[in-house]
């Protein structure tokens, strides 16, 4: 007989962080599947690692799920067409970070015909799982875009004991992962059981912030009466405090283990996967349809009708903004307001790892006026990594690598808590980024 055990409480608490307005307006809005745009622009770099090379040329016919980009590089993931239609051109686009990447432009025929070769893969061994993860095109969907087949690859000298599923979703506005919990909870747990079994991982902790009680309840009830006979798949109710979903913070909350600088979670026996990623992986194994759509939250004060949309990857941002009736957006971001990136052009396409498009105008689009640092120390108290952003801002004026190193800037994960907290509106997170760049430059 299986005894229902309570939902876990966090084992550790990382200091600092920020108490943010949640703004989860779209939480109870069921995802809407939108009709494909006339054209999709599919970037060949939608992951950490080597970009893909287009495997198609102008004039080729493609279907939903056809491979259009791949590479032999290890750290990479293939890219698939998200519509059926004809390749118009291979072009280059400039990403918001300033780098240029190749992209395949496909004119949709509006039919959304799936590739006839698509069939569910046979997954019985770890090798099958890794092959399937790679073929699915899965990358970390929480935003980092780390290819899943690398993360899942077991290593003999690094035994794994805990699988942590990241459902924290600590960024304001975004509810895409929450909708995954509400709409596809069976897939999430299906993926959990499969990976647990194939990789031989003992414990699973599914971490969800306590501002999403319905998601916790839904997942808990499925975990409580399904295949988990040993009761090793646990829900953990995380504190709603930014940046709860940051990998280091989440691992500490779940296991009280601290991830040292430059180490991977597998070095301390953990593997962390985003909740939408694991759900997608299981769905891929069920259906064989690779990563061609993405659920994104469209919100912000410029958006008249905030929604959760399921969009073909490569859909231009302007298309989803028009769909949600955005009015005079002055600032548009890919991702959340804390770590998302402001885009210079709404013609840019949506990527695999996007989970939100936010559009701000008026006061929301303005930055806080910048005044002199009053050394209040809020940035230091806000830093979950225990760093000191204000002294880094002084040091960066005349950057010396030893000094920046002694300020431990490489620990910074750019969560934005320092700049959020600053009463003087100093661009502290940008300063930390600059400082990290100085050290990287010197290391070359």
């Amino acid at each position: 007989m299986k005894k229902k055990e309570s939902i876990l409480k966090p084992k550790g608490r990382v200091r600092g962080g920020a108490r943010l307005p949640h703004n989860k307006h779209t939480a109870e809005m069921e995802s809407v599947i939108i009709a494909p745009p006339e054209k999709v622009i599919i970037s060949m770099s939608q992951h950490i690692g080597a970009p893909c090379e287009p495997t198609v040329k102008a004039g080729d016919k493609v279907f939903v799920g056809s491979v259009i980009g791949d590479t032999d590089a290890f750290v990479s993931a293939p890219i698939h067409s998200s519509v059926s239609g004809e390749v118009v051109e291979i072009t280059t686009i400039r990403m918001p970070a300033g780098n240029e990447v190749k992209a395949v432009v496909i004119a949709s025929d509006g039919e959304m015909t799936p590739d006839p070769d698509i069939k569910p893969p046979k997954v019985e061994t770890v090798e099958d799982l890794l092959a399937a993860a790679r073929a699915s095109g899965l990358v970390g969907l929480g935003g980092a875009g780390f290819p899943a087949h690398i993360k899942l690859k077991p290593s003999a000298d690094k035994p794994l004991d805990t699988l942590i599923i990241n459902g924290a979703e600590c960024e304001p506005f975004i509810t895409a992962d929450y909708r995954e919990c509400m709409e596809n909870p069976e897939d999430i747990l299906g993926g959990v059981y499969l990976i647990k079994k194939l990789l031989g991982i003992e414990n699973v902790i599914i971490g969800v912030e306590d501002n999403k009680p319905k998601a916790i309840k839904t997942l808990y009830e499925i975990a409580a009466d399904k295949q988990d006979v040993d009761d090793k798949v646990k829900l953990m109710k995380l504190k709603s405090r930014y940046p709860q979903g940051a990998e280091k913070v989440l691992i500490y909350s779940a296991t009280k283990r601290k991830l040292p600088l430059g180490k991977l979670p597998s070095d301390i026996g953990c593997i962390v996967m985003n909740i939408t990623s694991i759900s997608f992986l299981y769905r891929y194994i069920r259906t064989g349809m690779p990563l061609v759509t993405k659920r994104i939250t469209v919100d912000g004060n410029a958006v008249t009708e905030p929604k959760n949309l399921i969009v073909p990857i490569g859909t231009p941002i302007s298309y989803v903004l028009d769909y949600c009736k955005a009015e005079n957006p002055e600032k548009v971001m890919m991702g959340g307001p804390m770590m998302g990136i402001a885009v210079y052009d709404t013609a840019l396409p949506i990527l695999k790892q996007n989970n939100a498009i936010l559009a701000f105008n008026g006061n929301q689009a303005k930055s806080k006026p910048m005044t002199d640092c009053i050394r209040c120390g809020r940035c230091m108290r806000a830093c979950p990594m225990g760093l000191t952003p204000a002294p880094v801002e002084l040091a960066i004026k005349n950057p010396k690598v030893e000094e920046l190193n002694s300020l431990n800037v490489m620990y910074c994960m750019e969560c934005g808590s320092c700049a959020f907290a600053c009463p003087a509106g100093r661009p502290l997170t940008a300063v930390m980024r600059l400082a990290k760049n100085e050290i990287r430059k010197a290391g070359k």
Binding site: M333, T346, T388
Partner: protein, 316 residues
């Protein structure tokens, strides 16, 4: 293509700003200010007004003189003027108060680069300048509700025996002292307001209180030293206003938790040592000033390791 507003992340910010923080400090000081005016009469109000006006004028004129954008909007000059006034005896000539404010703003703050760059608390330093320059005027106190021209009285700190330690009286501030320093209960209320508003954190005041009370209790074991009792230590002189409002000055105290505790403990010890062994009646100002000077070193020595780097060095 529409022009887009591009900034680095994060794209949202807290509602805090410098003038809001200063406004909170002014709010927190108001009850004690009003109480001081109530006790010491219209002349106290005049002193407060002159001190604040002089601080604001000094800030404005300095910015004009050095062609710097006026920094009046951050309200920090008002806080400095108000804090100085509350640390003045209610009989001080007005021009001395004005001079003190000018010293605080021009010499201690602006000459070092303005807000955020001063190495010592402007109000504390100005008080010390006045104390050293005009020792008699700075130590002439009157009883509450007495006309300003009546005979001066001793403060509890000067060790006069008629002040049998009436703790309730000390607590509510109905005794002779500086304008805003006597009402411990209202100063404490202001401190609690600041903590609740997250303007200050409680480490410095608590460490200050604990170390001052602890050390005076310890010294009290030997009655020959003539140390104050612990409660008396906390409730007399400028300790309350100093611990809550001056030692917690952002610029001149450590930003980190451990640093704040070390800073507060240092302030408490120096205060009691000066009060007990020194020939000055009051030690709070000097204690805070000395700890201000040590602040960069305390900060450097107490800043912790980043997350994940504690204990053993990374094996790479």
């Amino acid at each position: 293509m529409q022009k887009m507003n591009i900034t680095a992340s994060p794209h949202i910010a807290s509602a805090d700003n410098t003038s809001g923080i200063m406004l909170d400090v002014i709010f927190a000081l108001l009850p004690a200010t009003i109480c001081g005016i109530f006790f010491y009469g219209f002349y106290a109000l005049l002193l407060v007004a002159v001190s604040v006006a002089a601080a604001v004028a000094a800030e404005y004129l300095w910015c004009l003189a050095v062609k710097k954008e006026s920094s009046l909007r951050d309200l920090s000059a008002i806080v400095t003027g108000l804090l100085l006034a509350l640390n003045l005896p209610p009989t001080l000539p007005l021009w001395m108060a004005a001079l003190g404010s000018a010293v605080a703003i021009v010499v201690v703050k602006q000459m070092f680069g303005g807000i955020g760059h001063n190495f010592a608390n402007p109000a504390i330093t100005a008080r010390i300048v006045l104390m050293v320059s005009f020792p008699t005027a700075m130590t002439t106190f009157v009883d509450p509700f007495a006309a300003a021209d009546t005979v001066s009285t001793a403060t509890p700190l000067s060790g006069s025996q008629e002040f049998a330690t009436d703790i309730t009286r000390l607590f509510f501030g109905n005794y002779s002292g500086c304008i805003g320093e006597t009402s411990s209960v209202l100063l404490l209320a202001g401190g609690i307001y600041l903590v609740l508003r997250r303007v200050i954190t409680p480490e410095i005041p608590l460490a200050f209180f604990a170390s001052a009370a602890g050390l005076s209790a310890l010294l009290g074991l030997n009655p020959e030293l003539g140390a104050q009792g612990p409660l008396e230590t906390l409730l007399t002189g400028g300790l309350m206003i100093g611990a809550i409002f001056m030692a917690t000055d952002y610029v001149t105290s450590p930003p980190n938790r451990l640093g704040k505790i070390v800073f507060g403990v240092g302030c408490g010890i120096i205060t009691v040592v000066i009060r007990t062994f020194g020939n000055l009646p009051e030690g709070v100002s000097f204690a805070i000033l000395l700890m201000n000077i040590l602040t960069p070193h305390i900060t450097r020595l107490t800043t912790g390791k980043p997350f994940g780097a504690e204990g053993k060095a990374d094996e790479k």
